[in-house]
Protein backbone atom coordinates (compact mmCIF):
# COMPACT_ATOMS: atom_id res chain seq x y z
CA UNK A 1 0.00 0.00 0.00
CA UNK A 2 2.99 2.25 0.46
CA UNK A 3 3.22 2.89 -3.27
CA UNK A 4 -0.36 4.05 -3.40
CA UNK A 5 0.38 6.32 -0.54
CA UNK A 6 3.16 7.86 -2.59
CA UNK A 7 0.89 8.42 -5.51
CA UNK A 8 -1.56 10.13 -3.20
CA UNK A 9 1.24 12.35 -1.98
CA UNK A 10 2.20 13.09 -5.56
CA UNK A 11 -1.39 13.91 -6.46
CA UNK A 12 -1.87 16.23 -3.49
CA UNK A 13 1.44 18.01 -3.98
CA UNK A 14 0.98 18.22 -7.72
CA UNK A 15 -2.50 19.70 -7.33
CA UNK A 16 -1.31 22.21 -4.77
CA UNK A 17 1.56 23.18 -7.04
CA UNK A 18 -0.91 23.75 -9.90
CA UNK A 19 -3.18 25.88 -7.73
CA UNK A 20 -0.41 27.91 -6.10
CA UNK A 21 1.38 28.58 -9.36
CA UNK A 22 -1.89 29.37 -11.11
CA UNK A 23 -2.95 31.87 -8.46
CA UNK A 24 0.48 33.40 -7.88
CA UNK A 25 1.31 33.82 -11.56
CA UNK A 26 -1.93 34.45 -13.48
CA UNK A 27 -0.29 33.88 -16.85
CA UNK A 28 0.55 30.34 -15.83
CA UNK A 29 -3.12 29.38 -15.54
CA UNK A 30 -3.44 28.78 -19.27
CA UNK A 31 -0.40 26.51 -19.59
CA UNK A 32 -1.43 24.63 -16.46
CA UNK A 33 -4.97 24.10 -17.73
CA UNK A 34 -3.61 23.13 -21.14
CA UNK A 35 -1.19 20.73 -19.46
CA UNK A 36 -4.01 19.17 -17.48
CA UNK A 37 -6.05 18.89 -20.69
CA UNK A 38 -3.18 17.06 -22.34
CA UNK A 39 -3.01 14.84 -19.29
CA UNK A 40 -6.72 14.01 -19.49
CA UNK A 41 -6.45 13.24 -23.20
CA UNK A 42 -3.42 11.10 -22.50
CA UNK A 43 -5.40 9.09 -19.96
CA UNK A 44 -7.54 8.02 -22.89
CA UNK A 45 -4.62 7.33 -25.17
CA UNK A 46 -2.84 5.44 -22.38
CA UNK A 47 -5.81 3.08 -22.18
CA UNK A 48 -5.17 2.22 -25.82
CA UNK A 49 -1.45 1.86 -25.16
CA UNK A 50 -2.25 -0.62 -22.38
CA UNK A 51 -4.10 -2.64 -24.98
CA UNK A 52 -0.95 -2.47 -27.11
CA UNK A 53 -2.62 -0.18 -29.63
CA UNK A 54 -1.28 3.18 -30.75
CA UNK A 55 -3.75 5.53 -32.30
CA UNK A 56 -2.38 8.29 -34.48
CA UNK A 57 -5.84 9.77 -34.76
CA UNK A 58 -7.23 10.19 -31.27
CA UNK A 59 -6.90 13.96 -31.38
CA UNK A 60 -9.95 13.89 -33.64
CA UNK A 61 -12.09 13.43 -30.54
CA UNK A 62 -10.67 16.60 -29.04
CA UNK A 63 -11.50 18.26 -32.32
CA UNK A 64 -15.04 16.90 -32.41
CA UNK A 65 -15.73 18.03 -28.85
CA UNK A 66 -14.09 21.41 -29.44
CA UNK A 67 -16.12 22.14 -32.56
CA UNK A 68 -19.29 20.96 -30.84
CA UNK A 69 -18.61 23.49 -28.10
CA UNK A 70 -17.89 26.18 -30.68
CA UNK A 71 -20.95 25.49 -32.83
CA UNK A 72 -23.29 25.40 -29.84
CA UNK A 73 -21.76 28.46 -28.22
CA UNK A 74 -22.16 30.43 -31.45
CA UNK A 75 -25.69 29.23 -32.10
CA UNK A 76 -26.90 29.74 -28.53
CA UNK A 77 -24.60 32.22 -26.76
CA UNK A 78 -26.66 31.94 -23.56
CA UNK A 79 -25.71 28.25 -23.07
CA UNK A 80 -23.75 27.63 -19.89
CA UNK A 81 -20.10 26.56 -20.11
CA UNK A 82 -20.71 23.36 -18.20
CA UNK A 83 -23.47 22.39 -20.60
CA UNK A 84 -21.18 23.12 -23.55
CA UNK A 85 -18.49 20.90 -22.10
CA UNK A 86 -20.97 18.09 -21.48
CA UNK A 87 -22.29 18.41 -25.01
CA UNK A 88 -18.73 18.27 -26.35
CA UNK A 89 -18.00 15.13 -24.38
CA UNK A 90 -21.30 13.66 -25.53
CA UNK A 91 -20.43 14.29 -29.16
CA UNK A 92 -17.02 12.69 -28.83
CA UNK A 93 -18.48 9.69 -27.02
CA UNK A 94 -21.03 9.26 -29.77
CA UNK A 95 -18.36 9.52 -32.45
CA UNK A 96 -16.12 7.17 -30.49
CA UNK A 97 -18.93 4.65 -30.17
CA UNK A 98 -19.54 4.63 -33.91
CA UNK A 99 -15.93 4.77 -35.10
CA UNK A 100 -15.05 2.25 -32.41
CA UNK A 101 -17.27 -0.39 -33.97
CA UNK A 102 -15.05 -0.29 -37.05
CA UNK A 103 -11.58 0.29 -35.66
CA UNK A 104 -11.68 -2.38 -32.94
CA UNK A 105 -11.43 -4.96 -35.70
CA UNK A 106 -7.86 -3.77 -36.38
CA UNK A 107 -4.63 -4.20 -34.51
CA UNK A 108 -1.17 -2.75 -34.52
CA UNK A 109 -0.18 -0.61 -37.45
CA UNK A 110 -3.59 -0.91 -39.05
CA UNK A 111 -5.36 0.26 -35.92
CA UNK A 112 -3.05 3.26 -35.87
CA UNK A 113 -3.41 3.95 -39.57
CA UNK A 114 -7.18 3.63 -39.72
CA UNK A 115 -7.54 6.07 -36.85
CA UNK A 116 -5.07 8.33 -38.60
CA UNK A 117 -7.00 8.17 -41.85
CA UNK A 118 -10.33 8.94 -40.23
CA UNK A 119 -8.85 11.85 -38.34
CA UNK A 120 -7.21 13.14 -41.52
CA UNK A 121 -10.55 13.06 -43.32
CA UNK A 122 -12.10 15.05 -40.50
CA UNK A 123 -9.10 17.39 -40.42
CA UNK A 124 -9.26 18.14 -44.13
CA UNK A 125 -13.04 18.49 -44.16
CA UNK A 126 -12.88 21.04 -41.33
CA UNK A 127 -10.13 22.86 -43.18
CA UNK A 128 -12.11 22.88 -46.43
CA UNK A 129 -15.59 23.90 -45.34
CA UNK A 130 -14.49 27.38 -44.61
CA UNK A 131 -17.86 29.05 -44.36
CA UNK A 132 -19.05 26.64 -41.68
CA UNK A 133 -15.86 25.99 -39.78
CA UNK A 134 -13.73 29.06 -40.32
CA UNK A 135 -11.20 26.91 -42.16
CA UNK A 136 -7.72 26.65 -40.74
CA UNK A 137 -8.17 29.79 -38.64
CA UNK A 138 -10.91 28.05 -36.73
CA UNK A 139 -13.77 29.50 -34.75
CA UNK A 140 -13.72 31.87 -31.82
CA UNK A 141 -15.82 31.12 -28.79
CA UNK A 142 -17.03 33.96 -26.61
CA UNK A 143 -16.67 33.41 -22.92
CA UNK A 144 -19.84 31.67 -21.74
CA UNK A 145 -21.28 31.75 -18.25
CA UNK A 146 -20.08 29.06 -15.87
CA UNK A 147 -22.71 27.53 -13.59
CA UNK A 148 -24.82 30.57 -14.28
CA UNK A 149 -22.18 33.12 -13.24
CA UNK A 150 -20.56 35.61 -15.56
CA UNK A 151 -16.84 35.92 -15.11
CA UNK A 152 -14.09 38.29 -16.17
CA UNK A 153 -11.25 36.50 -17.90
CA UNK A 154 -9.22 36.11 -14.70
CA UNK A 155 -12.10 34.65 -12.74
CA UNK A 156 -13.13 32.47 -15.63
CA UNK A 157 -9.66 31.02 -15.85
CA UNK A 158 -9.48 30.42 -12.12
CA UNK A 159 -12.77 28.55 -12.18
CA UNK A 160 -11.61 26.57 -15.20
CA UNK A 161 -8.32 25.80 -13.49
CA UNK A 162 -10.06 24.47 -10.41
CA UNK A 163 -12.63 22.62 -12.48
CA UNK A 164 -10.03 21.07 -14.76
CA UNK A 165 -7.89 20.08 -11.82
CA UNK A 166 -10.86 18.48 -10.12
CA UNK A 167 -11.78 16.68 -13.32
CA UNK A 168 -8.19 15.53 -13.75
CA UNK A 169 -8.01 14.13 -10.22
CA UNK A 170 -11.43 12.51 -10.44
CA UNK A 171 -10.84 11.02 -13.86
CA UNK A 172 -7.33 9.93 -12.95
CA UNK A 173 -8.83 8.05 -10.03
CA UNK A 174 -11.61 6.53 -12.11
CA UNK A 175 -9.31 5.54 -14.93
CA UNK A 176 -6.93 3.91 -12.48
CA UNK A 177 -9.87 1.98 -11.05
CA UNK A 178 -10.78 0.96 -14.57
CA UNK A 179 -7.23 -0.15 -15.33
CA UNK A 180 -7.32 -2.40 -12.28
CA UNK A 181 -10.81 -3.75 -12.83
CA UNK A 182 -11.62 -6.96 -14.66
CA UNK A 183 -12.40 -4.95 -17.82
CA UNK A 184 -9.17 -3.02 -17.57
CA UNK A 185 -7.05 -6.10 -17.01
CA UNK A 186 -8.77 -7.82 -19.90
CA UNK A 187 -7.98 -4.73 -21.99
CA UNK A 188 -4.32 -5.13 -21.09
CA UNK A 189 -4.75 -8.79 -22.09
CA UNK A 190 -5.37 -7.66 -25.66
CA UNK A 191 -1.77 -6.58 -25.80
CA UNK A 192 -0.42 -10.00 -24.83
CA UNK A 193 -2.96 -12.57 -25.86
CA UNK A 194 -6.22 -12.16 -27.67
CA UNK A 195 -6.55 -15.86 -28.34
CA UNK A 196 -6.71 -16.50 -24.63
CA UNK A 197 -9.33 -13.80 -24.19
CA UNK A 198 -11.41 -15.48 -26.84
CA UNK A 199 -10.98 -18.87 -25.14
CA UNK A 200 -12.12 -17.35 -21.88
CA UNK A 201 -15.38 -16.60 -23.63
CA UNK A 202 -14.62 -12.90 -24.00
CA UNK A 203 -14.80 -10.79 -27.12
CA UNK A 204 -11.54 -8.92 -27.54
CA UNK A 205 -13.35 -6.46 -29.79
CA UNK A 206 -15.94 -5.77 -27.16
CA UNK A 207 -13.27 -5.26 -24.51
CA UNK A 208 -11.34 -2.96 -26.81
CA UNK A 209 -14.50 -1.11 -27.81
CA UNK A 210 -15.19 -0.31 -24.16
CA UNK A 211 -11.69 1.08 -23.79
CA UNK A 212 -11.98 2.98 -27.05
CA UNK A 213 -15.30 4.48 -26.02
CA UNK A 214 -13.87 5.75 -22.73
CA UNK A 215 -10.74 7.02 -24.41
CA UNK A 216 -12.80 8.97 -26.95
CA UNK A 217 -14.72 10.57 -24.10
CA UNK A 218 -11.56 11.48 -22.22
CA UNK A 219 -9.88 13.01 -25.25
CA UNK A 220 -13.19 14.75 -25.99
CA UNK A 221 -13.33 16.27 -22.53
CA UNK A 222 -9.80 17.54 -22.93
CA UNK A 223 -10.79 19.10 -26.25
CA UNK A 224 -13.86 20.78 -24.79
CA UNK A 225 -11.85 22.22 -21.90
CA UNK A 226 -9.08 23.26 -24.26
CA UNK A 227 -11.61 25.06 -26.45
CA UNK A 228 -13.01 26.86 -23.41
CA UNK A 229 -9.71 28.05 -22.06
CA UNK A 230 -8.41 29.15 -25.46
CA UNK A 231 -11.69 30.63 -26.60
CA UNK A 232 -10.76 29.20 -29.96
CA UNK A 233 -10.96 25.95 -31.88
CA UNK A 234 -8.79 25.18 -34.90
CA UNK A 235 -8.38 22.07 -37.05
CA UNK A 236 -4.89 21.72 -35.56
CA UNK A 237 -6.60 20.31 -32.47
CA UNK A 238 -7.24 17.20 -34.55
CA UNK A 239 -4.04 16.96 -36.57
CA UNK A 240 -2.05 13.74 -36.57
CA UNK A 241 0.83 15.58 -34.95
CA UNK A 242 -1.39 16.36 -31.98
CA UNK A 243 -2.40 12.70 -31.81
CA UNK A 244 1.27 11.85 -31.93
CA UNK A 245 1.89 14.20 -29.02
CA UNK A 246 -0.72 12.37 -26.96
CA UNK A 247 0.99 9.05 -27.66
CA UNK A 248 4.29 10.73 -26.92
CA UNK A 249 3.04 11.88 -23.51
CA UNK A 250 1.55 8.48 -22.78
CA UNK A 251 4.92 6.82 -23.40
CA UNK A 252 6.79 9.57 -21.56
CA UNK A 253 4.62 9.21 -18.49
CA UNK A 254 4.12 5.48 -18.77
CA UNK A 255 0.86 3.59 -18.76
CA UNK A 256 1.55 1.62 -15.58
CA UNK A 257 -0.59 3.98 -13.56
CA UNK A 258 -3.07 6.68 -14.51
CA UNK A 259 -0.94 9.37 -12.88
CA UNK A 260 1.69 8.69 -15.53
CA UNK A 261 -0.44 10.64 -18.00
CA UNK A 262 -0.16 13.76 -15.86
CA UNK A 263 3.53 13.30 -15.10
CA UNK A 264 4.13 12.97 -18.83
CA UNK A 265 2.01 16.02 -19.60
CA UNK A 266 3.85 18.05 -16.98
CA UNK A 267 7.24 17.18 -18.44
CA UNK A 268 5.95 17.82 -21.94
CA UNK A 269 4.56 21.27 -21.06
CA UNK A 270 7.66 22.23 -19.11
CA UNK A 271 9.92 21.29 -22.00
CA UNK A 272 7.72 23.30 -24.37
CA UNK A 273 7.58 26.31 -22.05
CA UNK A 274 11.27 26.18 -21.41
CA UNK A 275 11.98 25.95 -25.13
CA UNK A 276 9.57 28.77 -25.94
CA UNK A 277 11.25 31.02 -23.40
CA UNK A 278 14.90 30.13 -23.87
CA UNK A 279 15.45 28.03 -26.95
CA UNK A 280 12.95 29.25 -29.50
CA UNK A 281 13.06 27.25 -32.67
CA UNK A 282 14.32 23.98 -31.28
CA UNK A 283 11.48 22.84 -29.07
CA UNK A 284 10.76 19.85 -31.26
CA UNK A 285 14.39 18.85 -31.04
CA UNK A 286 14.25 19.05 -27.26
CA UNK A 287 11.08 16.98 -27.18
CA UNK A 288 12.55 14.40 -29.51
CA UNK A 289 15.70 14.04 -27.44
CA UNK A 290 13.64 13.76 -24.26
CA UNK A 291 11.53 11.03 -25.79
CA UNK A 292 14.48 9.00 -27.04
CA UNK A 293 16.13 9.37 -23.67
CA UNK A 294 13.03 8.11 -21.89
CA UNK A 295 12.57 5.17 -24.26
CA UNK A 296 16.16 4.07 -23.89
CA UNK A 297 16.45 4.63 -20.16
CA UNK A 298 12.93 4.03 -18.93
CA UNK A 299 10.80 2.23 -21.50
CA UNK A 300 8.01 1.99 -18.93
CA UNK A 301 7.93 5.77 -18.72
CA UNK A 302 8.40 8.02 -15.74
CA UNK A 303 5.87 6.12 -13.66
CA UNK A 304 7.59 2.85 -14.47
CA UNK A 305 10.88 4.32 -13.33
CA UNK A 306 9.37 5.56 -10.08
CA UNK A 307 7.73 2.21 -9.42
CA UNK A 308 10.96 0.36 -10.08
CA UNK A 309 12.91 2.76 -7.87
CA UNK A 310 10.43 2.47 -5.08
CA UNK A 311 10.54 -1.31 -5.39
CA UNK A 312 14.31 -1.15 -5.10
CA UNK A 313 14.14 1.20 -2.16
CA UNK A 314 11.84 -1.17 -0.36
CA UNK A 315 14.10 -4.09 -0.97
CA UNK A 316 16.97 -2.12 0.50
CA UNK A 317 14.75 -1.41 3.44
CA UNK A 318 14.29 2.26 2.54
Amino acid sequence: MARLYDIRVMTVLGSLLCLILGLAFPWSKTPIIVGLCFGIATLGVAAMVRAGQVSFGHAMYACIAGYTVAFLARAWPQLDGLLLILAGVGASLLAGAIVGVFVVRYRGIFFGMLNLAISMVLFSVIGKFYTLTGGTDGLRINRPTLLGFEFERAGFETVLLIGTLAAAIGLGFLVQRYFQSASGEALAGIKTNETRLEYLGLSARRVLWNGYFFSAGLVGLSGALFAMVQGLVTPDMGSWLRSGEFVFIAILGGSGHAIGAFLGAAVFELVKLFAAAYMTGVWQLLLGVTLIFVILVAPEGIIGLLMKKSALATRRGG
Binding site: V49, G52, V54, F102, R105, Y106, G108, I109, F110, G112, M113, L114, L116, A117, I118, M120, V121, S124, V125, G127, K128, F129, T195, W240, L241, G244, V247, F248, I251, G281, V282, W283, Q284, L285, L287, G288, V289, L291, I292, I295, L296, P299
Partner: protein, 301 residues
Protein backbone atom coordinates in the same frame (compact mmCIF):
# COMPACT_ATOMS: atom_id res chain seq x y z
CA UNK B 1 -16.55 12.06 -66.74
CA UNK B 2 -15.11 12.36 -70.21
CA UNK B 3 -12.07 10.68 -71.69
CA UNK B 4 -10.30 14.04 -72.05
CA UNK B 5 -10.64 14.67 -68.40
CA UNK B 6 -9.22 11.28 -67.58
CA UNK B 7 -6.21 11.86 -69.80
CA UNK B 8 -5.59 15.29 -68.31
CA UNK B 9 -5.94 13.95 -64.81
CA UNK B 10 -3.58 11.12 -65.69
CA UNK B 11 -0.96 13.52 -67.02
CA UNK B 12 -0.85 15.37 -63.71
CA UNK B 13 -1.62 12.35 -61.60
CA UNK B 14 1.30 10.27 -62.91
CA UNK B 15 3.91 12.76 -61.86
CA UNK B 16 2.42 13.12 -58.42
CA UNK B 17 1.96 9.37 -58.14
CA UNK B 18 5.58 8.85 -59.16
CA UNK B 19 6.88 10.90 -56.25
CA UNK B 20 4.42 9.35 -53.87
CA UNK B 21 5.44 5.91 -55.03
CA UNK B 22 9.16 6.51 -54.50
CA UNK B 23 8.58 7.63 -50.94
CA UNK B 24 6.06 4.92 -50.14
CA UNK B 25 8.28 2.27 -51.64
CA UNK B 26 11.06 3.21 -49.24
CA UNK B 27 8.66 3.06 -46.35
CA UNK B 28 7.17 -0.27 -47.29
CA UNK B 29 10.56 -1.83 -48.00
CA UNK B 30 11.82 -0.88 -44.55
CA UNK B 31 8.64 -2.18 -42.99
CA UNK B 32 8.96 -5.46 -44.80
CA UNK B 33 12.41 -6.18 -43.47
CA UNK B 34 12.56 -4.37 -40.15
CA UNK B 35 8.90 -4.44 -39.17
CA UNK B 36 9.15 -0.75 -38.33
CA UNK B 37 6.90 1.99 -39.60
CA UNK B 38 9.42 4.75 -39.91
CA UNK B 39 7.81 8.11 -39.13
CA UNK B 40 11.15 9.83 -39.75
CA UNK B 41 10.78 8.82 -43.39
CA UNK B 42 9.15 12.21 -44.02
CA UNK B 43 12.32 13.88 -42.78
CA UNK B 44 14.37 11.83 -45.23
CA UNK B 45 12.12 13.18 -47.97
CA UNK B 46 12.69 16.73 -46.76
CA UNK B 47 16.44 16.32 -46.34
CA UNK B 48 16.63 14.73 -49.79
CA UNK B 49 14.83 17.73 -51.24
CA UNK B 50 16.91 20.35 -49.48
CA UNK B 51 20.20 18.63 -50.21
CA UNK B 52 19.25 18.22 -53.86
CA UNK B 53 18.33 21.89 -54.13
CA UNK B 54 21.59 22.88 -52.47
CA UNK B 55 23.64 20.79 -54.88
CA UNK B 56 21.57 21.94 -57.87
CA UNK B 57 21.99 25.61 -56.96
CA UNK B 58 25.70 25.11 -56.72
CA UNK B 59 25.81 23.20 -60.04
CA UNK B 60 23.68 25.86 -61.73
CA UNK B 61 26.07 28.57 -60.60
CA UNK B 62 28.91 26.57 -62.14
CA UNK B 63 27.00 26.39 -65.46
CA UNK B 64 26.94 22.62 -65.28
CA UNK B 65 25.27 20.70 -68.12
CA UNK B 66 21.80 19.24 -67.65
CA UNK B 67 22.97 15.72 -66.95
CA UNK B 68 25.08 16.97 -64.10
CA UNK B 69 22.05 18.70 -62.63
CA UNK B 70 20.13 15.43 -62.85
CA UNK B 71 23.03 13.48 -61.40
CA UNK B 72 23.13 15.99 -58.55
CA UNK B 73 19.59 15.00 -57.60
CA UNK B 74 20.49 11.33 -57.37
CA UNK B 75 23.75 12.10 -55.59
CA UNK B 76 21.86 14.13 -53.00
CA UNK B 77 19.47 11.25 -52.40
CA UNK B 78 22.36 8.80 -52.06
CA UNK B 79 24.14 11.06 -49.62
CA UNK B 80 21.06 11.50 -47.46
CA UNK B 81 20.14 7.82 -47.68
CA UNK B 82 23.55 6.61 -46.60
CA UNK B 83 24.28 9.21 -43.95
CA UNK B 84 20.89 9.73 -42.33
CA UNK B 85 19.69 6.19 -43.02
CA UNK B 86 22.86 4.82 -41.48
CA UNK B 87 22.65 7.07 -38.43
CA UNK B 88 19.01 6.18 -37.86
CA UNK B 89 19.49 2.45 -38.24
CA UNK B 90 22.74 2.01 -36.36
CA UNK B 91 22.37 4.78 -33.85
CA UNK B 92 18.74 4.38 -32.95
CA UNK B 93 16.71 1.52 -34.33
CA UNK B 94 19.19 -1.17 -33.36
CA UNK B 95 19.00 -0.04 -29.79
CA UNK B 96 15.28 -0.56 -29.65
CA UNK B 97 15.13 -3.68 -31.79
CA UNK B 98 13.91 -5.89 -28.96
CA UNK B 99 11.51 -3.39 -27.52
CA UNK B 100 7.77 -3.09 -27.86
CA UNK B 101 6.73 -2.13 -31.44
CA UNK B 102 4.96 0.90 -29.97
CA UNK B 103 8.29 2.13 -28.65
CA UNK B 104 9.99 1.48 -31.97
CA UNK B 105 7.39 3.62 -33.69
CA UNK B 106 7.77 6.33 -31.08
CA UNK B 107 11.55 6.37 -31.50
CA UNK B 108 11.12 7.17 -35.17
CA UNK B 109 8.58 9.83 -34.21
CA UNK B 110 11.19 11.37 -31.90
CA UNK B 111 13.75 11.25 -34.71
CA UNK B 112 11.22 12.99 -36.93
CA UNK B 113 10.84 15.82 -34.38
CA UNK B 114 14.59 16.21 -34.13
CA UNK B 115 15.10 16.22 -37.89
CA UNK B 116 12.38 18.86 -38.32
CA UNK B 117 14.37 21.31 -36.23
CA UNK B 118 17.74 20.29 -37.66
CA UNK B 119 16.44 20.96 -41.13
CA UNK B 120 15.34 24.42 -40.04
CA UNK B 121 18.68 25.09 -38.43
CA UNK B 122 20.55 24.05 -41.57
CA UNK B 123 18.44 25.55 -44.34
CA UNK B 124 16.54 28.25 -42.54
CA UNK B 125 12.91 29.06 -42.98
CA UNK B 126 12.76 30.85 -46.32
CA UNK B 127 11.43 28.92 -49.30
CA UNK B 128 14.30 27.16 -50.96
CA UNK B 129 14.38 25.98 -54.54
CA UNK B 130 16.30 25.32 -57.71
CA UNK B 131 14.22 24.87 -60.83
CA UNK B 132 16.91 25.17 -63.47
CA UNK B 133 16.75 21.57 -64.58
CA UNK B 134 13.01 21.73 -65.24
CA UNK B 135 13.38 24.78 -67.45
CA UNK B 136 16.28 23.19 -69.33
CA UNK B 137 14.34 20.05 -70.12
CA UNK B 138 11.66 22.08 -71.85
CA UNK B 139 7.97 21.64 -72.46
CA UNK B 140 5.55 19.37 -74.22
CA UNK B 141 2.04 20.05 -75.47
CA UNK B 142 -0.81 17.65 -74.87
CA UNK B 143 -4.36 18.59 -75.92
CA UNK B 144 -3.35 22.25 -75.98
CA UNK B 145 -2.00 22.12 -72.47
CA UNK B 146 1.66 22.72 -71.80
CA UNK B 147 3.46 20.32 -69.53
CA UNK B 148 7.07 20.21 -68.46
CA UNK B 149 9.01 17.23 -69.77
CA UNK B 150 10.45 16.85 -66.30
CA UNK B 151 7.10 16.31 -64.64
CA UNK B 152 5.24 14.62 -67.47
CA UNK B 153 7.94 12.17 -68.49
CA UNK B 154 10.99 12.13 -66.28
CA UNK B 155 9.39 11.64 -62.86
CA UNK B 156 7.04 8.84 -63.98
CA UNK B 157 9.92 7.25 -65.88
CA UNK B 158 12.19 7.30 -62.84
CA UNK B 159 9.43 5.84 -60.68
CA UNK B 160 8.76 3.10 -63.20
CA UNK B 161 12.46 2.34 -63.58
CA UNK B 162 12.90 2.11 -59.82
CA UNK B 163 9.87 -0.16 -59.58
CA UNK B 164 11.03 -2.53 -62.32
CA UNK B 165 14.63 -2.40 -61.15
CA UNK B 166 13.65 -3.27 -57.62
CA UNK B 167 11.44 -6.15 -58.73
CA UNK B 168 14.32 -7.48 -60.80
CA UNK B 169 16.79 -7.06 -57.98
CA UNK B 170 14.59 -8.80 -55.45
CA UNK B 171 13.90 -11.74 -57.73
CA UNK B 172 17.18 -12.22 -59.51
CA UNK B 173 20.07 -11.01 -57.39
CA UNK B 174 21.58 -12.75 -54.40
CA UNK B 175 21.17 -9.73 -52.17
CA UNK B 176 17.58 -9.32 -53.33
CA UNK B 177 16.78 -12.91 -52.55
CA UNK B 178 18.31 -12.52 -49.12
CA UNK B 179 16.15 -9.45 -48.51
CA UNK B 180 13.06 -11.40 -49.53
CA UNK B 181 14.06 -14.25 -47.24
CA UNK B 182 14.46 -11.91 -44.27
CA UNK B 183 11.13 -10.29 -45.09
CA UNK B 184 9.40 -13.65 -45.00
CA UNK B 185 10.97 -14.97 -41.86
CA UNK B 186 13.85 -13.42 -40.01
CA UNK B 187 14.56 -16.48 -37.84
CA UNK B 188 14.58 -18.93 -40.69
CA UNK B 189 16.73 -16.61 -42.80
CA UNK B 190 19.22 -16.26 -39.96
CA UNK B 191 19.27 -20.02 -39.56
CA UNK B 192 20.09 -20.31 -43.25
CA UNK B 193 23.18 -18.23 -42.66
CA UNK B 194 21.92 -14.87 -43.86
CA UNK B 195 23.27 -11.94 -41.89
CA UNK B 196 19.91 -10.38 -41.01
CA UNK B 197 21.56 -7.44 -39.31
CA UNK B 198 23.47 -6.53 -42.43
CA UNK B 199 20.44 -7.05 -44.63
CA UNK B 200 18.46 -4.84 -42.24
CA UNK B 201 21.00 -2.04 -42.57
CA UNK B 202 21.20 -2.33 -46.35
CA UNK B 203 17.43 -2.30 -46.71
CA UNK B 204 17.08 0.61 -44.37
CA UNK B 205 19.61 2.60 -46.33
CA UNK B 206 17.93 1.63 -49.60
CA UNK B 207 14.56 2.67 -48.19
CA UNK B 208 16.00 5.91 -46.87
CA UNK B 209 17.54 6.53 -50.29
CA UNK B 210 14.15 6.08 -51.96
CA UNK B 211 12.51 8.49 -49.51
CA UNK B 212 15.27 11.02 -50.15
CA UNK B 213 15.02 10.41 -53.89
CA UNK B 214 11.33 11.32 -53.73
CA UNK B 215 12.32 14.61 -52.13
CA UNK B 216 15.19 15.18 -54.54
CA UNK B 217 12.97 14.59 -57.57
CA UNK B 218 10.32 16.93 -56.15
CA UNK B 219 12.84 19.66 -55.33
CA UNK B 220 13.14 21.22 -58.82
CA UNK B 221 9.38 21.65 -59.13
CA UNK B 222 8.54 23.06 -55.75
CA UNK B 223 9.64 25.46 -53.04
CA UNK B 224 10.99 23.68 -50.03
CA UNK B 225 9.65 25.03 -46.79
CA UNK B 226 9.74 23.75 -43.22
CA UNK B 227 7.16 21.02 -42.83
CA UNK B 228 7.33 19.57 -46.38
CA UNK B 229 8.09 16.17 -44.87
CA UNK B 230 5.10 16.22 -42.56
CA UNK B 231 2.49 16.02 -45.27
CA UNK B 232 4.45 13.51 -47.27
CA UNK B 233 4.78 11.10 -44.40
CA UNK B 234 1.05 10.85 -43.71
CA UNK B 235 0.34 10.50 -47.41
CA UNK B 236 2.85 7.72 -47.83
CA UNK B 237 1.45 6.06 -44.71
CA UNK B 238 -1.89 5.98 -46.42
CA UNK B 239 -0.38 4.50 -49.58
CA UNK B 240 1.46 1.81 -47.64
CA UNK B 241 -1.48 0.91 -45.43
CA UNK B 242 -3.94 0.91 -48.32
CA UNK B 243 -1.67 -1.30 -50.37
CA UNK B 244 -0.86 -3.64 -47.52
CA UNK B 245 2.38 -3.45 -45.55
CA UNK B 246 5.43 -4.62 -47.44
CA UNK B 247 3.58 -4.83 -50.77
CA UNK B 248 5.74 -3.34 -53.52
CA UNK B 249 3.41 -3.81 -56.45
CA UNK B 250 0.56 -2.83 -54.17
CA UNK B 251 2.29 0.44 -53.35
CA UNK B 252 2.81 1.08 -57.06
CA UNK B 253 -0.85 0.59 -57.90
CA UNK B 254 -2.10 2.45 -54.85
CA UNK B 255 0.15 5.43 -55.53
CA UNK B 256 -1.24 5.58 -59.06
CA UNK B 257 -4.77 5.31 -57.77
CA UNK B 258 -4.27 8.09 -55.26
CA UNK B 259 -2.44 10.31 -57.73
CA UNK B 260 -5.23 9.96 -60.30
CA UNK B 261 -8.01 10.35 -57.76
CA UNK B 262 -6.43 13.50 -56.44
CA UNK B 263 -6.10 15.05 -59.90
CA UNK B 264 -9.65 14.12 -60.75
CA UNK B 265 -10.80 15.69 -57.51
CA UNK B 266 -9.18 19.00 -58.47
CA UNK B 267 -11.24 18.98 -61.67
CA UNK B 268 -14.51 17.67 -60.32
CA UNK B 269 -14.68 18.11 -56.54
CA UNK B 270 -11.92 20.42 -55.30
CA UNK B 271 -13.29 20.32 -51.74
CA UNK B 272 -12.35 16.68 -51.52
CA UNK B 273 -8.83 16.98 -52.90
CA UNK B 274 -7.05 16.79 -49.57
CA UNK B 275 -9.34 14.14 -48.12
CA UNK B 276 -9.25 11.82 -51.15
CA UNK B 277 -6.24 9.66 -50.20
CA UNK B 278 -7.63 9.11 -46.73
CA UNK B 279 -11.12 8.38 -47.96
CA UNK B 280 -9.64 5.75 -50.25
CA UNK B 281 -7.68 4.32 -47.34
CA UNK B 282 -10.69 4.15 -45.03
CA UNK B 283 -12.79 2.56 -47.75
CA UNK B 284 -10.14 -0.03 -48.59
CA UNK B 285 -9.37 -0.93 -45.00
CA UNK B 286 -13.03 -1.35 -44.15
CA UNK B 287 -13.39 -3.89 -46.92
CA UNK B 288 -9.94 -5.44 -46.74
CA UNK B 289 -8.60 -5.05 -43.21
CA UNK B 290 -5.00 -5.86 -44.15
CA UNK B 291 -4.83 -3.67 -47.22
CA UNK B 292 -5.57 -4.30 -50.86
CA UNK B 293 -2.76 -6.69 -51.59
CA UNK B 294 -2.14 -8.61 -48.40
CA UNK B 295 -3.45 -12.11 -47.90
CA UNK B 296 -4.40 -12.56 -44.27
CA UNK B 297 -2.61 -15.34 -42.45
CA UNK B 298 -4.16 -17.22 -39.56
CA UNK B 299 -2.16 -17.22 -36.38
CA UNK B 300 -0.88 -20.64 -35.35
CA UNK B 301 -1.99 -21.74 -31.92
Amino acid sequence: MTLDLLILAAADGFSYAGLLFLVSLGLTLIFGVQGILNVAHGSLYAFGGYTAATLAIWATEKQAPTWVLLAALVAAALLVGVVLGGILEIGLLRRVQDKDPVLQLLVTFAAFLIFEDLQRLIWGVSPYSSTEVVSRMGNLDLFGITYTVYQLLLIPAVALAVYLGLLYALRRTRLGKQIVAVTHNREVATALGINAKKIGLITFIAGAFLGALGGAMAAPTTSLVPGVGTDMIVLSFSVVATAGLGQITGAFITALLIGMARSLAVYTAPELEVAVPYLIMVAVLLVRPNGLFTVAQARRI
